[in-house]
Symmetry: C2
Subunit: 198 residues, 2 copies
């Protein structure tokens, strides 16, 4: 089993020439395209197959207004304009699903009664899934723009009131990017700046 | 600017047929291949270009023994056997780099004096970078196996003693995967289980 290297066009599409978008063209995005993002990202690894991410794909005018009301700065307008905005939530009671997600060990018992470990694990692993989501969207020909500028407590009240163990982690707009909305590219240092061998 | 969709072989390589490996073949991995992982993953987005990940690529016998001594369960042997294990650390003082990483605003001031926000931001964004690292490694024809089974405090003492603002987040072995070391694939639910539209 030799893992093949992706060609340059693919490396460009998911990393090297990919950009964060602040606005999108009128080209529509179908629900099925968003479902396909999940069907791809779900294969990315999480610790003990926790899969703690709980995703809300905001598509309707009412949903967009509700989410825009929780966002800060220029983010409300981005949410209104984008074909979709996904809320990456995390379930701190993810361990209740482990008997079927990780059936060969009693993984539920590793987390039951340890809220601090569950919080850190849900945060880490839902964030991994959020990164998989962004790469998967790009791999399927979509563009994204992630945002941290929102009131997480308000998003929880507006979208996760019925599931109190679920909390918003970050959000991202999705669509076909409008190149006019891209900022100048920010610096990315060479290997030696933030890396070393040991 | 239309983002091209990756072909099926590429989608398989980074997500659909990719697996987490517990052991690797004898095929060597060059330092330059690990540097290439950084040169690809560094383009993945982080909030305000924080780039808080600090990566230690453990390659030497001494380094492997030092890291193995911090790991639990079967992880010490995996670290010894793998061509490389990367420690994904996070710098909670990442904001000191923002004057040059995010030069068009005083982003440093958003984080100075707010240790709680810096902790959450460093954790979230270094984890995103860890996910980019895993996908980038696969995209370049390498295989990986992420691990949370280690004592983070001991890793900090062994590898980050000179940089007290840097803390271990997670670790991952890297090499050319030995298919004999792969476990049965764990369930991945359909869209409706952990997703909804709003």
């Amino acid at each position: 089993m030799t893992t093949p290297r992706l060609d340059d066009a693919a490396l460009d599409a998911i990393f090297r020439t990919a950009r964060s978008f602040n606005g999108y063209t009128d080209e529509p995005v179908a629900d099925a395209e968003l479902e396909a993002v999940w069907e791809l990202m779900k294969w990315g690894p999480t610790s003990a197959n926790q899969l703690p991410a709980r995703l809300v794909w905001v598509r309707t005018p009412d949903g967009k207004e509700k989410l825009a009301a929780c966002a800060t700065g220029t983010n409300p307008d981005k949410i209104r304009q984008a074909p979709a905005t996904v809320i990456v939530g995390m379930d701190t009671d993810f361990h209740e699903q482990l008997p079927w997600l990780f059936p060969h060990a009693d993984a539920r018992s590793w987390f039951a009664g340890n809220a601090e470990l569950r919080q850190a694990s849900a945060f880490r692993n839902s964030t991994l899934q959020g990164a998989y989501l962004m790469i998967a969207a790009r791999a399927l020909g979509l563009d994204i723009g992630a945002m941290s500028g929102f009131d997480a407590g308000e998003v929880d009240k507006a979208f996760f009131a019925d599931t109190p163990s679920v909390h918003a982690n970050f959000i991202a707009t999705i669509g076909h990017g409008d190149p006019a909305t891209v900022h100048d590219r920010l610096p990315r240092p060479d290997f030696g700046t933030f890396n070393r061998f040991a």
